[in-house]
Amino acid sequence: MIALLIALPLLGALAAWLTPDNRRRPLVLPVVGGVHLLLTLALLAETPPPALGGWIILDPLGKLVLLEVSILFFCCAIYSVGYLAYRRERSNRVLCMGLPLCLGAMSLACVSQHLGLLWVAIESTTLAMAPLIYFNRNARSIEATWKYMLICSIGIAMALLGLYFLAYATVVARQEPTLLLAPLLAQARGLSPAWLNGAFIFLLVGFGTKIGLAPLHTWKPDAYGEAPGLVGALLAGGLVNCGFLGICRIYQICLAAGTTTFFRDALTLLGFLSMGFAAVFVLRQADFKRLLAYSSVEHVGFMAIGFGLGRGAIPGTVFHLLTNGLTKGVLFLTAANIHRSYNSKRAERVRGVMDRLPWSGWLFMLALFAVTGSPPFATFLSEFMILSGLFADGREIAGVTVILLFAVIFTGMALTILPILTGRGGSDLDDSGYRDRLLTVAPPLALLLVTLLLGIWIPAPLREILDATAAMLGVGS
């Protein structure tokens, strides 16, 4: 069944490649997304046994990321049918192939227990996304793609070096060399500490580039700003979580080795740096898609702080992985609708969205409140859990700093976005004729409803997964 989870998207990509008709090709995506979601739910209900000699295991952490990725992808897939109907002039073959390929790689990342395989999977997602950022085929998008490709490729290389260091730590310790998670965790205490720390730092830099932790985030505003909205949603909600999956795996080894201080301090430092960068750049940002990129940098930093300070903050951080990913989907999809209608993503060229696109406008506004952690959305719950965990552990200074940074970033985002939504539209503004349609509004609406639902009620099976994931990441230790 797990094999099907990975094979299905690959078959979908093949089908998209073979379909000659630009009009029918996007229909492949919702089919792949829908079946993938059903498969995921079936796998969550009944955990399959380990496969391929322990290389493939679906553990709670993998389940959590898989669920989030699958829901997000399904919504983006439905959205893509509506979106591509507006882009008939352009061949969508590459987009329709790249999205399922990326889904397959993300699914593989969720189930792989061999760190080498995990690395291959995570990096395949990076590669599969590159042509999609270039969908608009203009000078700006080529610049964004080049920066993304070069910086992320160097990140890929650094992560590989980190993996080699990790394997070498077992050689120096005269143990059976392996990169399988279970034996690594079992023998972690005997590993050479110097090489282990070397591995941590390079893996953190590698995966940190992938998730866009400052100061390795420089590709992010460009790529998120120039990519189509649904690609941005998958980058911010899907690839970021896969990157965190990698970081969590290293974290597990750290915990088992009993040398967490170094890794945690590095994560916390980068986390605060990211939130700081986001706070500075959000304030003067007139491009609302780039604004969302900085919001992503902010939340990546926030989660890094949650993992870095650990202990009481872990359950909230784990939950935030899920909620943040879904909310990012709403933001990017609705932002894309606004961009489409006004032919611009500059704040001074967009006004009166509430009048022209009431659904997108309201969804964007609600998502803005959700992403900044307002009740009753699930993001409020997860952010509250993290902060209360920090205070319960006696980390008042960290907690207060995070709250202050949140306040600054919220103000910055609201100052740019509220005038866009509420101001009066005028005849000087561009109008592409795009208006809200079911296919481009229903997916973000569904994502927002899921976030709302999770804020009020977490189903028992999901709670089990969340608790088990938190336990894997050493809650309370």
Binding site: E123, S124, P131, I142, A194, D222, Q285
Partner: protein
């Protein structure tokens, strides 16, 4: 691990300096190809020949020695650029920086807690020096293709470190690494073509429309 492999690594050091000092992109691509092939031969030389190691060698020589250079040469031909004319840092200064980095690599490698069978070999200093060379190229060159050669040298440095693990690591990871590298370079090649169409140049210092 034998002395022959060590002598091959001396060649790798020399090739690093050749890339740093050459302004012609065609030569840089050829030098990187030779470096990749030399490195590809080492696993089969230092260990008992096994199908697994042979596969790595054949894969390395094929991909780094022939496939990637062919892709890059095609990109060079389409965009019609032969030289890196104005790098951010001149050719003589950068070779001096490269020399300092190589010296530091030896000093640093001496301090590392290596496994006893790997002491007094050139592998670790060669890995660090090659990594540094790659970084130097990435930050000092303007042309997109030169940056790709820098990235390839960076990858070679990592591969040299991986040589210490050839028996320990399963072939799948290395195959995956090669494949990722190949696809990565392929994608970069396509982007380079597009950059040259949009900007009629592959000078990445002109890519400045996206900034704060």
């Amino acid at each position: 691990m034998n002395t022959f492999a060590d002598q091959l690594l001396v060649l790798v050091f020399l090739l690093n300096f050749m890339v740093l000092g050459s302004s012609r992109i065609g030569i840089a691509i050829r030098v990187v190809a030779v470096q990749g092939m030399v490195l590809g031969l080492i696993p089969s030389l230092i260990h008992q020949v096994s199908p697994h190691l042979l596969l790595i060698s054949v894969g390395m020589v094929g991909v780094k020695g022939f496939l990637i250079p062919a892709l890059l040469n095609r990109a060079v031909r389409t965009v019609g650029i032969k030289r890196e004319e104005t790098p951010f840092l001149g050719y003589v200064p950068i070779m001096l920086v490269g020399a300092v980095a190589t010296a530091l690599a030896f000093l640093f490698a001496d301090k590392l807690p290596l496994a006893p069978q790997h002491k007094d070999l050139l592998f670790v200093p060669a890995a660090i020096a090659t990594l540094m060379t790659g970084f130097l190229l990435l930050v000092s060159r303007k042309k997109a293709i030169s940056q790709v050669t820098g990235y390839l040298i960076l990858e070679n440095g990592i591969f040299i470190f991986g040589l210490l693990l050839t028996e320990a690591m399963p072939v799948m990871v290395e195959a995956g690494a090669l494949l990722d590298l190949l696809v990565g370079i392929f994608v970069m090649g396509i982007i380079i073509n597009q950059i040259s169409q949009e900007f009629s140049s592959i000078d990445t210092s002109r890519l400045t429309s996206l900034k704060e």
